[in-house]
Amino acid sequence: MTFSIDGSDFIHAGEASSGAKKALTKLGVKAPVVKRAAIAMYEAELNTVIHAGGGSAEVDIYPDHVLIRVTDHGPGIPDVRLAMQEGWSTAPEAAREMGFGAGMGLPNIKKQSDELLIETEPGRGTTVTIRINFTV
């Protein structure tokens, strides 16, 4: 499944993760796992809206796990180690005023996922790959 994510559109942010959630539920994936996938994907999706003017998300579902790959062509993450710290945020003021950008995005993704891979290149963009296993 491929979703495109509109940039700077907070109103529709979350549509991709909603779609993925619906699909996983139809497949009979257990509720707690669907929830983790939805939260992780939502945070990643939101990151592309806040920092990169949107991007795209690809969801590949396997019998025992799901891979979520969220890609943007934004500014990249200068220091991944720093970005993984709770409370660290480089979100623009507009996003913070709406209650986003509290510096919990990547740490929360990490918390929800079984494996997390962040590939980023300054000025070129970022790809976040999340693996969530179905066995609890």
Binding site: M1, L27, G28, K35
Partner: protein, 450 residues
């Protein structure tokens, strides 16, 4: 008629339009052979179809006063929303007294049960918040509980694990009346006077308990004319005496009739009150995505306005709201026989949480389900995407799902059907030409004489 639900279709009135299929929050309705059909495993008894059907083909299946005949001693449980159906000079007590005149031996205010639930919920929420569990979701609206079981199974754990005010009041009435009359339980009939069909479903198919303490559920709208007549005939003395005697609840319980009432009763700052089934879905989506960090308690009502907006009420919900507010302000805050004297406190919490309802699942086996999902996506790609509903499913994706489940065919889509007819017509016309070319003699053609 379904044994598990309380919404039925009058086939003669149904014209097979798309109004109800489009509004159903769980995509439970399909039009097949020109008539609407409700999928039992998906219906959550919200009553949206009853409300929106322009031909009044959908109605609630409810119990009637005739059902009182089966039991020796009968109790009416008045929903808090009952009062709001009647305006001044009627008082709460008068409404209860007029209800009693319809053949009931006792009348109880469900608002009293609501106060018992409030007291238990307040203590429970406090403890849950200390443990970092939030937000808690009210379980008072049975439609919301069933919605969560099907579409948000991950949130079952967020439900406040207590019986509804209806069940709590029924338990209380049964205990008190058995003591008072000396009758065995099976001789006591308990009837809830309800604003919605979902409450009847909650009795025949109870949530988180083995059996209901309620025998039957009667629609407010069915009793409305008789209660009104009783109120008009009531003399001042009866009104005063009987009315006072029957009041057991305070403003805390009476306020439960409209959206916000249940939450206000908890004296919490960080609550959210949402009504209307489609709005409830939006909020539950936010909860599931963990976006509501600043809310501790969610009161969710399937009906706009709360229970006063129920499909089986009579009064317009805005005027009902104004009336109910007047009843609230006239009542003392503390109940006369509310939680203080209730023997039920603290309420026992549910022994088992409501189970997830897998009605949305494509197949029990995930590999099979994935294959079906793959097929579904391919079919959707070939459909026009207009979501016109002419096939009888609410949108193209739902039709694709029906096809994958073996319940519909691609040619149910009129655009697909036209494509096929066109293709067949082209073949026919080619065939015709071919026949003419090689067997001209068989045709009577004046230009083609041998």
């Amino acid at each position: 008629m379904s044994r598990l639900h309380s919404v039925k279709l009058n086939r003669d009135l149904c014209v097979g339009c798309t109004t109800c299929i489009k509004r159903c929050p769980t995509e439970a309705i399909r039009v097949r052979n020109g008539k609407a059909q409700i999928a039992e495993n998906r219906c959550i008894d919200c009553g949206e179809c009853i409300r929106v059907c322009p031909h009044h083909a959908k109605s609630a299946v409810m119990d009637t006063l005739d059902d009182l005949k089966g039991t020796a001693f009968n109790v009416a449980l008045a929903a808090p929303s009952l009062y709001a159906q009647f305006g001044p000079p009627a008082t709460r007590g008068m409404v209860l007294a007029a209800l009693g005149l319809l053949g009931f031996d006792a009348v109880y205010e469900v608002a009293q049960g609501a106060e018992i639930v409030t007291a238990s919920t307040a203590a429970f929420v406090q403890k849950a918040l200390e443990e970092g569990r939030r937000p808690l979701i009210s379980s008072a609206c049975p439609v919301v509980v069933r919605l969560i079981q099907m579409r948000f199974p991950g949130l079952v754990e967020n439900l406040v694990p207590f019986d509804s005010p209806m069940e709590v009041t029924a338990d209380l009435a049964r205990r008190q009346l058995a003591e008072k009359t000396g009758l065995p339980q099976e001789k006591i009939g308990v009837f809830f006077i309800s604003p919605c069909p979902a409450k009847r479903t909650a009795v025949i198919n109870p949530i988180a308990r083995a059996s209901s303490a309620v025998n039957g559920v009667i629609a407010i709208s069915d009793l409305y004319p008789q209660i009104l007549a009783g109120l008009e005939k009531m003399d001042a003395k009866t009104a005063l005496q009987e009315g006072e005697r029957l009041l057991t609840a305070g403003s805390t319980g009476v306020r439960w009739a409209y959206t916000g009432g249940e939450a206000i009763a908890l004296h919490m700052e960080r609550y959210l009150a949402v009504d209307g089934i489609h709005n409830v879905i939006e909020i539950l989506e936010e909860v599931e995505n963990e976006r509501l960090h600043d809310v501790d308690f969610i009161e969710a009502n399937a009906c706009l306005g709360g229970c006063i907006g129920g499909p089986l009420t009579v009064a317009n919900r805005f005027s009902a709201h104004a009336r109910q507010r007047a009843f609230v302000s006239r009542a003392p805050e503390e109940a006369r026989q509310g939680p203080q004297t209730a023997p039920d406190l603290p309420l026992e919490s549910w022994k088992e949480l409501p189970l997830p309802n897998p009605a949305m699942q494509l197949d029990e086996d995930i590999v099979q389900a994935m294959q079906k999902y793959e097929q579904l996506k391919q079919i959707v790609a070939g459909l026009p995407g207009l979501d016109c509903g002419a096939c009888g499913a609410p949108d193209c994706e739902a039709l694709a799902e029906d096809i994958v489940r073996g319940e519909a065919a691609e040619t149910d889509c009129i655009f697909k059907l036209k494509e096929r007819i066109r293709a067949v017509a082209a073949v026919m016309s080619d065939l015709g030409e071919e026949m003419n070319r090689y067997a001209p003699n068989r045709e009577e053609d004046p230009h083609d004489t041998p």
